[in-house]
Amino acid sequence: MNIGIIVFPGSNCDRDCAHVVSEVIGQTAHLIWHQDSSLNGMNAIILPGGFSYGDYLRTGSIARFSPIMEAVIDFAGRGGLVLGICNGCQILLEAGLLPGAMLRNKNVSFICEDVYVRVENADTPFTNTCQSGQVLRLPIAHADGNYYTDPVTLSALQANAQVVFRYCDKDGHSMPSMNPNGSIDNIAGIRNAKGNVLGLMPHPERCAEEILGNQDGRLIFTSLLASLIGNAALTV
């Protein structure tokens, strides 16, 4: 499978994602420059983490205007699988591919540490190799991961099973005290209504290999691969 990883100026997890795509799930990773305009031949797209344009303005707000984003929006519109990780997730929000916005962490500092998340919906192209309710240990590394949306949108997200991950403790209890950044409803990741776009703040690519002491993140990539293999129609 051909998996495209978009490189914005300031992306810094692009090579990490490419490493997992090629070395962990054995697929072909294509680094795609933000000024390109075509995603021809790609089976799925990853928007990686980093500090696109330095995040000097609101996170992701400039990257969203990169020429490649039109192609990404078009790709997603045709049902293509799009995964946004951290800054990639922020860009998906800014581009309107996912609802809501990211605020500054409640403690206003950058936070880098492992957290636990509960898989709320295992029936997505990004979580189909997980069990529903499964607890994953994943690292976060962000200053703006405090997800917010209005009550109406939140209800819709909840009703449509669009909340895919919630912060929780290691036994799967999703309590306010386990919320690292102040995110509404302990949300760590959401999908769009159609289900082909996922954004999450934790970094699954950072815990997909035995040597790194944690392989929980591998499940996100194996799920993506399983979806691509199982459903050729998703190849757009």
Binding site: P9, G10, H19, D55, F110, A141
Partner: protein, 760 residues
């Protein structure tokens, strides 16, 4: 200061003007000799920064020659942007440590951030992709709002710059002492990886080749930053805030990627970072190294503001700029890479063969100086040195009048609570230590371990230095810093390959400070020679003095080691109940200069622990052998706080499940405080499985030279650290115990409590 200079007529160099430029009369006479005439103002400015202590190492250079810089692994020694060692498989590790002390005191956030930016540029100008940052920080005690402000500012500055550019900050160390209240230290270490045969250097070869400027536009920021960094402080130093530069990590990320593309496409002859003294130092150094000259036209330099004089442009320390010499015919390819990344670039001059740095502004020559005169011709001082009279008072510690510890249970809790020893999680949680997906051992063990994806090997790295030891005995302190750094690497499973040093001292014009410097350098040099660890790069920061009060002599050693096999990677925390706890090395009556003495007796005096280099080597060799045989579950060196703190850390620092331990110590003829909290070097606490114990004991007994070993007890799954101290002969044994939860509370929350921050 610069305002005053500019308003004066350019050709009239007065004694005042010379003084304002930080030059002595004698130095001015030398300038006139070099030029064969009086300098103009621009030239005076150039000499001023290039002959500043910061750029010229004029007080330190003759002493630095003592450091061993060669060895079979050395690919690049001192004198380039950074040093490099061979790590096998055709790769080199490029690394260096640098200080950004003065700017960080004046403006902690930007001062620390631009320190990170500067060291990163030193690494990627060598063609290496930076893969790890570490930092050594020194602050005053946290009982004043200003010190807390400095800590928060420096940490968030490092976090902002390192996280944004996407190079993980994987480790380092922080200690606190009031001597740093008005002179905090920010030492930043960076390491990168490059193919050995592709190493780039700061060369300007080939007359006629074009010189290109790339990166940020030049502004008036940081003019005379290097001169400021070569001066001591007084209460008016706050006014120097405009001399501190402002960083742009996003631009630096673009520069980094562009530079690595230049390397990939083989476009360059040489490249140099514009750090201290900006365009001036980069051009002089490139020409001087290559035996060539450089002609620059300042009118072609991209600028951020109007009406800048040649003086401003040449002395600006605007960040994120590089000077490079393209291979003939490849200038357009360089410019194309810059366009791709959206970086300003301009051809600003050419290489010449006359050995002269010639600066034009359009058609007019505004400065003309032999490049060698500025770079290599800088003054060298053999400044007077003498041991201070207070040295004997400092070293005197009469143990007969020092009461032994009465309540060891409370003493351990107090030590774990003190910010120097307590967990630094509040700090490293703000650093992205995982980006790059190479960090195998995260912050919080003896050394950070970063894998090399291309080869399946790993590098361990650490920064260490105990300034109290150096104050009490600078020679011993220097040696102990080297020993501890090497010991930390060995505990991680690595064989040390090379080191970098960052030498932070007070005012070198004072004989006592100069004596501290010379002694510490000798201590470092002798220890490096004994351990066969070359110093491949480094930095000297002098004039760390405010209102006449100098910092403790603070040499910091950054060291890098190679771990050949993944299986050898070792961490400090106990792994499983039932494992046997083993101490390599021997506990002596080393109370002088300890953290215990400072915390419990408010005294910083005595002789520091004595380093026996042969013993140290034997202990390290023994530990590494055991690790490589696969018999070691955990390894942790004994340092600040002594054996009890080490044991507590072995119990507490497990990332998910802290364990307990049952320990028996034999007091023999030692004081109890020396046994529990003394800081004898050359000690490592190991844990091994019961099944491997016989192998381990046999192996240690077979070691030559002999390594003292004692079996201390077992790891347990209880919530208790229990320590039995067997007294001399028939004395009753003393039983000490701590709930692990109590130890954990002190250790986890000590720093945040003092910073006045609620948990998280």
């Amino acid at each position: 200061m610069t305002e005053d200079i500019k308003t004066l007529p350019p050709s009239h160099i007065t004694p005042d003007l010379i003084q304002q430029h930080g030059l002595s009369e004698e130095e001015y006479t030398q300038i006139v000799t070099h030029l064969g005439r009086e300098p103009n103002l621009t030239e005076l400015g150039i000499f001023s920064v290039m002959w500043s202590e910061h750029c010229s190492y004029k007080s330190s250079r003759i002493h630095l020659k003592r450091l061993p810089t060669e060895g079979p692994h050395v690919v690049q020694g001192p004198g380039e942007n950074a040093g490099a060692v061979d790590i096998g498989d055709g790769l080199a590790a490029v690394f260096k440590m640098e200080s950004h002390n003065h700017p960080s005191f004046i403006e902690p956030f930007q001062g620390a951030a631009t320190g990170v930016g500067g060291i990163l540029r030193d690494i990627f100008t060598m063609g290496a992709r930076p893969i790890a940052l570490l930092n050594s920080l020194r602050f005053g005690e946290l009982d004043t709002p200003h010190n807390r402000h400095l800590v928060k500012g420096v940490v968030s500055g490092i976090s902002w710059y390192g996280n944004c550019i996407g190079v993980p900050t994987v480790g380092g160390e922080i200690t606190f002492n009031d001597i740093y209240s008005k002179n905090p230290l920010v030492n930043v270490f960076c390491l990168g990886i490059v193919k050995k045969d592709r190493l780039l250097r700061g060369l300007a070869k080939g007359a006629g080749n074009q010189v290109l400027y790339i990166g940020a536009k030049t502004g008036r920021d940081g003019i005379h930053g290097a001169t400021m960094a070569s001066d001591s402080f007084d209460d008016a130093s706050e006014k120097k805030r405009p001399n501190v530069q402002v960083g742009d990590p996003f631009l630096e990320k673009l520069l980094l990627e562009a530079c690595l593309e230049f390397l990939e496409q083989d476009l360059l002859i040489g490249i140099q970072d514009m750090g201290a003294a900006g365009l001036t130092s980069s051009s002089c150094e490139m020409a001087s190294r290559s035996g060539t000259g450089i002609e620059l036209d300042v009118a072609k330099v991209p600028r951020r503001e109007p009406d800048m004089t040649p003086y401003d442009v040449l002395l600006s320390e605007s960040q994120e700029r590089m000077l490079l010499v393209a291979q003939p015919g490849k200038e357009d390819a360089v410019l194309a890479v810059c366009r791709k990344w959206g970086i300003d670039a301009a051809v600003v001059g050419r290489v010449t063969d006359d050995g002269v740095l010639r600066i034009r502004e359009g058609d007019q020559i505004v400065a003309e100086i032999p490049a060698d005169a500025i770079a290599e011709g800088a003054p060298r001082y053999d400044r007077p040195s003498a041991p201070p009279q207070y040295q004997e008072i400092l070293q005197a510690l009469n143990l007969d009048t020092l009461p032994d510890v009465k309540d060891p249970v409370d003493a351990l809790l107090q030590l774990l609570d003190c910010p120097t020893i307590a967990s630094k999680r509040w700090v490293f949680r703000q650093y992205d230590y995982m980006v790059g997906t190479n960090t195998v051992v995260c912050p919080g063990s003896d050394a950070a371990v970063v894998r090399i994806k291309e080869t399946g090997k790993a590098l361990a790295m650490t920064t260490d230095g105990n300034s109290r030891y150096c104050l009490l005995h600078p020679y011993m302190g220097g040696g102990l810093a080297v020993a501890e750094a090497a010991r930390n690497l060995v505990c991680s499973g690595a064989k040390p390959l090379g080191a970098t040093d960052c030498l932070n001292f007070g005012n070198p014009e004072r004989p006592d400070i100069m004596w501290q410097f010379i002694m510490a350098v000798e201590g470092i040099a002798d220890a490096c020679r004994a351990f066969d660890i070359p110093i491949v790069s480094g930095n000297v920061s002098l004039y760390n003095e405010t209102n006449g009060l100098s910092i403790y002599p603070t040499p910091i050693i950054g060291m890098v080691g190679l771990i050949e096999r993944e299986d050898d990677i070792t961490t400090q925390w106990f792994k499983q109940p039932g494992d046997v706890v083993v101490l390599l090395g021997e506990t002596r009556e080393d109370i002088g200069g300890t953290e215990y003495l400072k915390i419990m007796h408010s005294r910083e005096q005595g002789m520091p622990p004595w380093l026996d280099v042969e013993r140290e080597q034997a202990v390290q060799q023994c530990a590494l052998t055991l690790i490589q045989k696969g018999w070691v579950q955990s390894a942790h060196d004994c340092s600040e706080g002594g054996l009890l703190v080490t044991l507590a850390e072995c119990c507490l620092t497990h990332p998910s499940t802290p364990l307990g331990a049952t320990i028996t110590l034999s007091q023999e003829r030692l004081r109890l405080d020396a046994l529990l909290f003394g800081e004898s070097p050359s000690r490592i606490v190991l844990s091994v499985t019961e099944g491997n114990l016989a192998h381990v004991t046999q192996c240690i007994q077979d070691m030559e030279p002999k390594v003292p070993m004692s079996l201390l007890g077992h790891v347990t799954d209880t919530d208790t650290l229990a320590v039995t101290v067997q007294g001399e002969q028939h004395a009753t044994a003393r039983h000490l115990s701590w709930p692990i939860t109590d130890l954990a509370d002190r250790w986890h929350n000590g720093l945040t409590r003092q910073l006045g921050i609620e948990h998280s």
